[in-house]
Symmetry: C2
Subunit: 222 residues, 2 copies
């Protein structure tokens, strides 16, 4: 089953809304989609026709299993492309959303699978949101910043906040980027700075300011 760009956008929005509220209503979806309630009703009929939606007139609606799978396919593509844009094209993480909104509608399944492999099958996008696998499964792993994490544990970098040019320059120098495996060796009480072992690289020292913006997850739990 394949969907139009517009259908995919509606499906994705409904998915995100129903994560929060269970049942979704016409007006809030219209607001999210920046369109009119009447347009939403039109699309709901189409999605119900394609058997993606539980929907009774005037009653509210939500995606059924097929609908959720369709939504997760789009979310997966969106987040993989965001990862690519940040990690390989060196976009700042706060600039990539609108571009990924276009890329997420490219249809080739083989493309998505190859992209996933090329990126190293990341679990999180650069905002720290989880990337569903090709079956729609989301691996839930706790993320913490480097200040919160125990010493000598094998960790993988999942996201980086505060992406200033200066911060990115520093991380690049230490060979720290998304997916990098590392370990906190020591925390200095004096200034809160950390001694970090970047696997396959040299040890380095980072300040507390940096550490609080670098988020990681426990490699074992994957």
């Amino acid at each position: 089953m394949s969907f139009t760009k517009s259908e995919e956008n509606y499906i994705k929005r409904i998915y995100h809304l129903q994560q929060d509220t269970g049942l979704v209503n016409t007006n809030s979806l219209a607001a999210e989609m920046q369109t009119r309630p009447a347009s939403v009703t039109d699309m709901l009929k189409k999605l119900k026709g394609k058997k993606l939606l539980q929907y009774e007139k005037y009653k509210g609606f939500k995606l059924n299993e097929a609908g959720k799978k369709a939504a997760l396919d789009v979310v997966r593509k969106h987040r993989l492309w965001e990862y690519f844009l940040v990690e390989h094209l060196k976009f700042n993480w706060d600039k990539v959303h609108p571009i990924a909104e276009e890329l997420e509608h490219i249809s080739s399944e083989e493309l998505v699978q190859r992209l996933d492999n090329f990126l190293g099958n990341p679990l999180f996008d650069p905002h720290g949101d989880p990337i569903p696998d090709k079956n729609g499964k989301i691996t839930v792993v706790k993320q913490q910043n480097l200040l919160q994490v125990p010493l000598k544990k094998n960790l993988s970098v999942s996201s980086v906040t505060n992406q200033t040019a200066q911060m990115l320059d520093m991380l690049r120098h230490y060979h720290i980027s998304l997916g990098t495996q590392l370990m906190v060796l020591k925390r200095f009480e004096f200034d809160g700075s950390l001694e970090i072992k970047v696997i396959k690289q040299n040890t380095c020292i980072i300040s507390e300011q940096v550490a609080k913006n670098v988020f990681v997850y426990d490699v074992q739990e994957k």
Copy 2:
């Protein structure tokens, strides 16, 4: 000025046709676009309205300078994405066209520029077709296969024909891919095989069969 997907597709087709024939006519464009002549006429009016086309009713038509620039922007995106798909996602070159047909319509200029840089500003796509730069300029450089090329010249791999799994496996082993710099050191008369210096790698020996499928250009001429 920005264009719809449909407009971009028409512009690109007209560009390719007028490269061959000068003036383009309605029927041949309809055939190329797999559509009806009536639809072509409709679109021609739109493109004339946007001042991209020299077009008089019943007379034939061609892109003006603005139209050619628009076409080259699309061609540039198409070929950069093809390069990415082959070189980084390891698609075979004969599989990438339909996917690049979708990717070429992603609109962000910054994306294209960053992609170009990420790829190393390649001059040719994996089919050996030249990639226009951001101003629409096409660098014309002669490509030859490795059998046609003089010894001890600094060369860069521009395209590879006969992309069988076996061939690709062999090239990968020798670290030869698009953009790789190399030099032919010696040609053995006995079996036509070549001794190749892959810059930053070891020397290797490739057979005549392989050599005739590997196309290169002279780095000096860039």
